[in-house]
Amino acid sequence: MISTRAFVTGLVVAISLVAASSAAAYHTRFVADNCNNAAPTPTSYITRDGSATVALRARYEGYQWAGGCWNDNDRDDSPNDPHEDAATGGAGGDCSGFTFKVWRESLSTSDAGFQQWGMLRNVHGPYTSAAFKAGTGAPNTTVSKAALIKMDALASDGHIGLIYATNPDGTDQIIEAKGEDYGTNIWTRTYRGSSSYTGVRRTGWSS
C-alpha cells in the first residue's frame, strides 16, 4: 500500500517536472532556433502595395512583446506565451515592431530611407507606439486622421495598427499585431474616431 502511494506520488511529481521544463523550453525557442541578425537591404523603390504584402505575410503569425521575427507559416509557433515578456522569444512582432518592419524603416531615427528586412530578421526597431504617435523619427509624420489612406497608421500611447481597408459602415480594417492572445491579423476597428489615436504616416513612398 505504501509502495503504491509512493509510486503514484513519484509519477505525479515527474509528470509535473517534465511538463514544466518542456513548456519553459518551448516558449523560448522560436527566436533562438530560427531568427537571424542579417543586415537589411537598402532599397529606393517602395510602394504601399509592397508594404501591404509585408504585412499580409505576417498575418496569422503570433505576437511577441518587443519582438519582430516571423516565418510566414500562418500560425503562432509559440502560442500562450506569458504576456509582455521580451524574453519569451516567440514568433511574431509586437505592434510597433510589426509597423517598423512593414514600413521598412531604419534603425537610425535620423534615416528616412527604406530598408528591406527579412521576415526572419529579429528586429523591433527604435520606436514604441507612443513614439510613432508623436511622429518621432525622420521617416514618420503625424497626419490628420480624416486624410489617412491604406498603410497609414493609427497610433495611441499603447498600440499602433495599420489601415488596410475601409468598410461601408465607416469602420476600418486594421492589420495589426494585437497582443499575445490575438496574434497578428486583420480586424475591424474604430481607432480612427477614437481620441486616443493619432494619424501617422510613413513618408517617402514611390508612387
Binding site: 502595395d49 491604406k150 481597408a165
Partner: protein, 462 residues
C-alpha cells in the same frame, strides 16, 4: 564489496519518477504534437488578397466606378514589390431576371496600390438598383478570388436613393454631451460582480467587450475575460453570473427572444475562421459554427436567426436558420448587403467621404432613406435601426483630438431629435457593440478607469 541497491521503500518512488518521466514525455509529445509539428516553414508564401468598398447606396446622377485593390505576390518571391500580373471581370445586371453583363476591369495604380477598375454603364446606374460581382485572377495561375465570396449566388447590390431626406449636421460642437442615466455598472476586478480586463499590463485595456438588452430591460454584459455574462434584471440587486465556454478574447454578443444568446469570437484557431457560439439562458453550450470569412464584426438577430456582418465581402450572412446551423459555404451564398431585421426589412448604410447614406429596404425596394452631411468628419455608424415610424442613427463625429457619438432620431421630414453622448471608451470593446435599442430606449456601453457601465436614454414616444 556490496553493490548499492535500492531498498523496497525507495524503489517505488524512484520507479515512479522513471515511469513518470516516460509517461510525461509521451504526454507532452502527444499534447504538444502541434508544437513539434510547428517547426518553422521558411517558405515564402504567395499573397493574393482583394479589397473592395461597394457603393451599396447612391444618389441620382452619380457615376459609379467599381474598384478593387489587389495585393498579389508569387510564392517563393521575397521581394514584396515584385507583384504579379492580375486581371479581372466584373459581372453586372439590373436584377435577378436579367443576364449578367461582363465588364473587363482595367488595371491602374493609385497611391502605389494596383487597382482594377470599371465604370458602370449609365443605363445600369439609372436603374433603381443593380447587382454585380467580380472575378479576379492572378495571371498564369489557377488562383481566383470572387468578390463578394458568394459570387453569382449573392452579388453585391447598389441601390438608388431617388429622394432621400436630407439632414445637415453642420459643424459639430464638441463638449455638449448627454451622459445618460447609468442603469448598471461593474467595477474592474475579479469579484463576483466585477468585470475583468484582458491580460496585459501595458497594452491598451480591453474588457466588457459587448452587451445586449432584452425587451423587459434585462441587461446582459459580456465579461469575456472571466468567460461569463453578467446579467442585471430590473428587480435584482446585483448581477447574475452565467459562465460561458468562450475563448476569453474580444467578442460580440446578441440575445435571442427565447433568452438564448450568440457570441461571435474574434480570434480563430490556425486555419479556421472565428466561431459563433450559441448558449441557452443558463450558459449551456448549444452549438457553434464557423463563420464563412475571417473578418466578422457584428452578430445580430435576423428574422430567422443570427446574422453576422462578414468581411472582406461586407455582407450580412446567416449563421443559423430557424435553429439549424448554416455551413460557411451556404453563408456565402446567402450574403446580403443590408442588415436583416426581425421584422423582415433590411437596413443598408454607407459612410462616404462627404456624407452618410442610409436606407430602410423591404422586398418592394427602398422604403425610406436619409442622407446625412456634416461639417465635421464622421467615422463609424454605430447603429442604424427603425424605431416605430422613425429611424435612429448613431454615428461618431471626430476631430484629431475629440470624439463623440451623435444620436439622430429621424423621420421622413428630417431630424426629430438629436443629442450627443460621450464615447467613454477607456477600455476597448467590440467595434460596433456600443449601442442597443430596446423598449423605446437607447442603451450605451461605456467604460472609465473604475469600471464598465451601461447608460440609458429615453427616446420618448415614437
Amino acid at each position: 564489496m556490496r553493490t548499492p541497491s535500492l531498498d523496497r521503500r525507495h524503489a517505488a518512488p524512484v520507479m515512479g519518477v522513471v515511469a513518470g518521466c516516460a509517461v510525461a514525455s509521451l504526454l507532452v509529445a502527444a499534447i504538444g504534437g502541434t508544437a513539434v509539428a510547428q517547426r518553422p516553414d521558411p517558405r515564402v508564401r504567395a499573397v493574393f488578397e482583394v479589397t473592395h468598398l461597394p457603393p451599396l447606396l447612391r444618389l441620382p446622377g452619380e457615376r459609379v466606378h467599381l474598384s478593387y485593390d489587389v495585393h498579389c505576390t508569387r510564392e517563393g518571391v521575397e521581394f514584396p514589390e515584385s507583384g504579379c500580373d492580375v486581371a479581372g471581370t466584373v459581372y453586372v445586371r439590373i436584377g435577378p431576371r436579367d443576364a449578367f453583363r461582363p465588364l473587363r476591369l482595367e488595371l491602374t495604380s493609385v497611391d502605389g496600390v494596383p487597382r482594377l477598375t470599371a465604370s458602370v454603364p449609365t443605363d445600369l446606374t439609372a436603374a433603381r438598383g443593380f447587382e454585380y460581382y467580380a472575378e479576379i485572377e492572378a495571371a498564369g495561375t489557377t488562383d481566383r478570388i470572387l468578390v463578394p465570396a458568394g459570387g453569382v449566388d449573392a452579388p453585391h447590390k447598389s441601390l438608388l436613393l431617388p429622394n432621400p431626406t436630407e439632414v445637415s449636421l453642420g459643424v459639430h460642437a464638441f463638449g455638449f454631451v448627454t451622459p445618460g442615466a447609468r442603469i448598471v455598472s461593474a467595477p474592474w476586478g475579479d469579484g463576483s460582480a466585477s468585470v475583468g480586463l484582458e491580460s496585459g499590463k501595458n497594452l491598451s485595456a480591453i474588457g466588457a467587450s459587448a452587451f445586449d438588452v432584452s425587451a423587459d430591460g434585462t441587461v446582459s454584459l459580456l465579461d469575456e475575460a472571466h468567460r461569463r455574462v453578467l446579467r442585471w434584471q430590473s428587480s435584482a440587486a446585483g448581477p447574475m453570473r452565467v459562465p460561458l465556454s468562450i475563448d476569453g478574447r474580444m467578442a460580440d454578443m446578441s440575445l435571442d427572444v427565447d433568452g438564448s444568446f450568440y457570441v461571435l469570437e474574434s480570434v480563430a484557431r490556425p486555419g479556421q475562421t472565428p466561431l459563433v457560439r450559441h448558449f441557452d439562458s443558463t450558459g449551456r453550450d448549444l452549438d457553434a459554427v464557423e463563420t464563412a470569412e475571417g473578418g466578422s464584426s457584428q452578430v445580430r438577430m435576423g428574422p430567422k436567426g443570427p446574422v453576422v456582418l462578414q468581411h472582406p465581402s461586407h455582407q450580412w450572412m446567416p449563421v443559423a436558420d430557424r435553429g439549424a446551423l448554416v455551413s460557411p459555404r451556404d453563408q456565402k451564398r446567402n450574403g446580403r448587403i443590408g442588415r436583416p431585421l426581425r421584422s423582415g426589412a433590411e437596413v443598408v448604410v454607407l459612410r462616404r467621404r462627404q456624407d452618410i447614406l442610409s436606407a430602410l429596404v423591404s422586398s418592394r425596394g427602398v422604403e425610406r432613406s436619409w442622407r446625412v452631411t456634416s461639417g465635421t468628419p464622421l467615422a463609424e455608424i454605430q447603429l442604424a435601426e427603425p424605431i416605430g415610424p422613425r429611424f435612429l442613427i448613431v454615428v461618431r463625429a471626430y476631430s484629431d483630438s475629440a470624439s463623440e457619438f451623435v444620436v439622430l432620431v429621424l423621420d421622413r421630414n428630417g431630424v426629430v431629435r438629436t443629442f450627443s453622448t460621450p464615447t467613454d471608451e477607456w477600455a476597448e470593446a467590440t467595434p460596433l457593440g456600443r449601442f442597443r435599442i430596446a423598449a423605446n430606449r437607447l442603451f450605451r456601453l461605456g467604460s472609465d478607469g473604475r469600471g464598465a457601465f451601461v447608460a440609458a436614454y429615453d427616446l420618448g414616444k415614437s
